[in-house]
Symmetry: C2
Subunit: 435 residues, 2 copies
């Protein structure tokens, strides 16, 4: 994309209610804009990031045998009454009425609709297991929407639901999804932890959360650096007062505290702050029994499906990447999530040599399927550099005065360090860096 | 995909309210299911078709310089009050209230939100033109939702909005989008017509519709076979009674009628029925003036943006493909829209030779990036064949008894004709057919 044609409205001003780095920088970098409390629009750069994350989620799920569907966002209230959740969901589930006064709900999650889709369409154990997912809009009418994309009202969620003929098979799929989720977050370039989320009914393994580690995280985790053990503090402290006291502590304060308990591997445990971006949950027959969704087993007996459910906060991930990867100058995208991995900056667009090299490199990188931005704007160098840091391209190739000596600079956003590279070797250098 | 693992719940029963072929066959073929009046879920095959169409739309728009964004589906009523459309949209625009009694709207279209996004972020003629689009959920609370995906309440629409510094530039973009839309519908494999939609304010060219020709179409068109001229009947008949009389006629009745007027090229004009799948519209300054979205021109004068708007009914296209391409046995997908272009049918899964060839061909086609289904189910041959016709794979490779003689059959869904092919040449034959 050419910067001169791109709609990337960066700005110096952050909204007054923006306290989190992702909230500030995603708005300042021209990724998103607010449409109302807890409602966000994705501008072109934000949309590209969102779609990159969506694509990786989809690719790994499909590879693990999941099948994508798309449920209606507006769902009849009747579904929720039959499952008994109409009351339980409370005010977060927004109820609406159509012109005929029929009542509907803006989907906050979709267990009921997914069970209804499978009910009577899958009737034999022979057609199981089945893992269906969607990546679709959700709405939760939070009392106090805040923190930008971290806690919006309208958001993009991947919600998956699996159907099984036995508890054993459901647990097999649960474990498969844990591995699949690990692949997803690893591919996204994130530092994350899988933690036990509750001591649950099913052997303490019935629910796991995936947290992106970040000082600003709302959740407090206890983790072992030696063996990958991790738990949400709810699962290891018994007193609610103790938990609440830990929850409100900043990461800096938490680091000062010591944990008396030791990990079962013998090592020390540490506190960390995390952002919940995934949750997998062994449901059992809760919804299938309530909605009478049955199959016939090997012996011809009718049984409700054993189920599990798997969620990923796709739009929240856009923010979580930045909570984990930013500095005082702005965003630092990982290679997998960057809207453009390389930014080619022509310092002086009146200099033909600079323009020619920029155009040449731009074409070559595009032909190699590298997502590249060509900064051909008329702004002065200092402005362009600040802009590139705010947006957070992993690499910026600066084509400037040094070109007279046959050199260009490669600026790495993460380290803020520049290296000089011979102009006629820049394509190979970039290709090497992106490996 | 293996049929034995795929969730493709085909059925003999069509819903009682289904009168259109697409409504019947998309439900019977396991593509969609109803979630309530005018609300549909896409099951795996339906989701694949929807995404194939979405991908082609996106690819061609991006190629023409458009930039994708994503607007919040729930939008504050204030936006609509400022543009004056709160009243004008009537009951089709569903109003909702959140927990704090603030009023919102389920987006039926997004002119206002897009103007707000650009306002104050694009301030100079130098940053124009700009063409932003989204492919996102829309909701219109139709009084009588019907015809399946053809007239749902919740649907997927591509809506684009362009911003210009002059009427001339807006018309240039309008023409570019006409060409882009033609490429999209051509790539989808559809027989379509571009027709003048009204005699409009701007030289009769201010609004064009794109219609997929189909006997079941709701719109009545007048077209010339010689020169590609086409018009919606509203534009060439003056009396409303005459128009209404024509509109309610079936295609069979229409064909009997003659048209007195002749095309400007001298040839005869004919009536056709069409399904509107696209609409491009020269807006001028209607919304930019109302919402005070201005830019500075070359002389520093503040002016409202000249705008145009461009829509495509993405989920409606899923149905339109089938309205144009079906027979009494079911769907006939075009190559570009088929969920799987090739279906490999192993007639007898207990026959090792049949299974081996099926598996081998399946692997080879997948490696060649052909979307292929392997029918490895235990059903009997007759059932599988009917199922393949209902689903509508363009080609089915039947691996059956003839394999003993070194032969397999290729069944073409459109013609329902089969040809015999040597088993060891089947890969090359399929590759040739897909060219």
């Amino acid at each position: 994309m050419r910067r001169s044609r791109a709609f990337v409205p960066t700005t110096k001003e952050a909204p007054s209610d923006a306290t989190l780095p992702s909230h500030k920088f995603l708005i300042r970098g021209g990724f998103i804009n607010s449409q109302g409390a807890g409602l966000y629009n994705f501008m072109p750069l934000g949309k590209i990031v969102l779609e990159k994350i969506r694509a990786i989620v989809k690719e790994e799920l499909d590879r693990s045998g999941c099948q994508e569907v798309q449920l209606s966002f507006v769902t009849p209230i009747g579904l929720w009454e039959r499952s008994g959740r109409s009351e339980a969901m409370g005010k977060e589930m927004l109820r609406i009425k159509d012109r005929h006064e029929n009542e509907f709900v803006l989907s906050p999650t979709n267990e009921e609709a997914m069970v209804e889709m499978v009910k009577n369409r899958v009737t034999s154990y022979k057609d199981l297991p089945l893992n269906l997912y969607q990546i679709n809009t959700k709405f939760r009418d939070e009392a106090r929407p805040r923190y930008g994309l971290m806690r919006g009202r309208e958001f993009l969620m991947k919600d998956g639901y699996s159907f099984h003929s036995s508890v054993e098979d459901m647990i097999r799929e649960f474990d498969l999804m844990e591995e699949t989720y690990k692949k997803i977050f690893t591919r996204l370039g994130l530092d994350f932890r899988v933690v036990a989320a509750d001591s649950g009914a099913i052997g303490g393994e019935g629910s796991k959360e995936f947290h992106v580690l970040a000082n600003s995280g709302e959740d407090t985790l206890v983790v072992c650096e030696a063996c990958d053990y991790g738990a949400n503090i709810e699962t290891i402290y018994e007193s609610e007062e103790e938990i609440d006291a830990l929850k409100i502590k900043s990461y800096e304060e938490l680091q000062e505290l010591t944990i008396e308990k030791r990990c079962s591997c013998g090592s020390e445990l540490h506190f960390k702050k995390g952002i919940e971006v995934g949750h997998i949950f062994q449901l059992g027959t809760k919804y299938s029994a309530a909605l009478e969704a049955h199959f016939n087993d090997e012996n011809g007996r009718s049984k409700p499906f054993e189920m599990a459910t798997f969620g990923i906060g796709v739009s929240r991930l856009v923010a979580a990447v930045i909570e984990q990867n930013h500095d005082e100058s702005g965003c630092i995208w990982t290679k997998a999530t960057a809207p453009y991995v390389v930014n080619i900056m022509i310092s002086n667009i009146k200099d033909d040599a600079q323009v020619n090299l920029g155009e040449e490199l731009y074409t070559k990188l595009q032909e190699s399927n590298v997502d590249v931005m060509l900064d051909d704007s008329k702004e002065r160098f200092g402005f362009k550099m600040k802009d590139a840091e705010l947006i957070g391209f992993p690499y910026t190739v600066v084509i400037g005065k040094e070109l007279e000596n046959g050199l260009v600079q490669v600026f790495e956003r993460k380290t803020k360090e520049s290296i000089s590279v011979k102009a006629d070797e820049i394509f190979e250098k970039i290709t090497e860096l992106l490996k």
